[in-house]
Symmetry: D2
Subunit: 137 residues, 4 copies
Amino acid sequence: MLKRFGVSVAADLLEGFDELVASRGYANRSEAIRDLIRDALVQREWESGDAEAAGAVVLVYDHHRRELQARLTRLQHEAHDRIISTMHAHLDHDNCIEVILLRGKPGQLKGIGEKLIATRGVKHGRVVSTTMGKHLS
Amino acid sequence: MLKRFGVSVAADLLEGFDELVASRGYANRSEAIRDLIRDALVQREWESGDAEAAGAVVLVYDHHRRELQARLTRLQHEAHDRIISTMHAHLDHDNCIEVILLRGKPGQLKGIGEKLIATRGVKHGRVVSTTMGKHLS
Amino acid sequence: MLKRFGVSVAADLLEGFDELVASRGYANRSEAIRDLIRDALVQREWESGDAEAAGAVVLVYDHHRRELQARLTRLQHEAHDRIISTMHAHLDHDNCIEVILLRGKPGQLKGIGEKLIATRGVKHGRVVSTTMGKHLS
Amino acid sequence: MLKRFGVSVAADLLEGFDELVASRGYANRSEAIRDLIRDALVQREWESGDAEAAGAVVLVYDHHRRELQARLTRLQHEAHDRIISTMHAHLDHDNCIEVILLRGKPGQLKGIGEKLIATRGVKHGRVVSTTMGKHLS
């Protein structure tokens, strides 16, 4: 069910906002505002840490590193009840990028991500916070 | 001049937003939405980097460190045309906190901040991006 | 080729760092420091924006939304020369999570990500910056 | 007391790091590494939230707004036991920038900052996390 409410904004602030709406490719202001709201709610979800969240870990590594893939796979198996699925792609002859999708409490997801990123041979990694989507329409 | 427009939001998203509005102490939804818009515009201002912006550098350091204050003051004088003013406070017997307010192009402000933070003896520092306020009502 | 250099750190800073090394699961201090260095370099790569980078876009959306998947697929095809691959997973009966891996200049990757995130019906999205890994051993 | 330890880093990673050290104006690698370590520790301090931290709130607002300064001052008085000091500067005929230095638990400091930022008429605000400096040499 959609609800509608009015927002008052000074003319020049609205002008700047309309430029942002256009440059990011939003269909209209409501779209853009819904995204700003959702992003603020997801951030709060991850800060409070109680509700189930979704997240992703992005890793870049050299697959030639001895034992590295075995180690990453082992860590993922230890967290298998939090992992939704994993994708792997080849950046060049040596470098791979891997994305692991996770669900669980934010603290758990951070912990799993930090361990994967800390693994010797991982060149770069990031934990990305997002949402299960249930309470965000 | 205030302009008014309508926003359509799903009922449960609105519920989450109303909680956020209350917990952060906003008087009403319009207030909160204006802040989300302004923050997105300030971020874009700092990313594009062309217009004059305002910023702050926050430094924590031990004032007993030999030559440290002299060095920080010298760096600030080299950038005196970008510096608005500076505040200094005492955290305990040893530690000071200092805030330097700046105005100029985002790239310049980052550069000045990075040099201050990089000074030997500075324990922690951050560059904070904000706005001259002119185009944000 | 590995190079070795010495770092001087105050005793209590080292103590805090050793706790961090342990809690994040690093094998040793060198591992942790290499990660701090790499993360600073990736940030700089994305800020300067000239070199080829890798990135990911994470999207959460309701696949029941009419035309949404078609629209997301169309946007991805328009950017097919920047997209490495895409993974899709089901969070619950309604919600999907999708990760799109990208390579290209940071500005391009941000632009593609912003358009995908701005698409009507996408509940939450983030652009994640990482690296092609070539210059990071 | 200074402690010294060795770090092993691949040659090309070290090359990138040395460029970063130079461009940010660090005197040597140890300086830069100490800053990376301290920043990671301050982030953890703010995430765990138990120990006393220092912080700053940066506000930009139009001082002509009726009642605004009175309201900001009242909010600051309610939090007077957390506030170290405040600095105010004039950006132009209308706009002011104000920095409020705070000490206390990260959650409290965020709460005070969010309330100040949420006050009607404040154009932009940020909460900046830093440290009391005690455990960071």
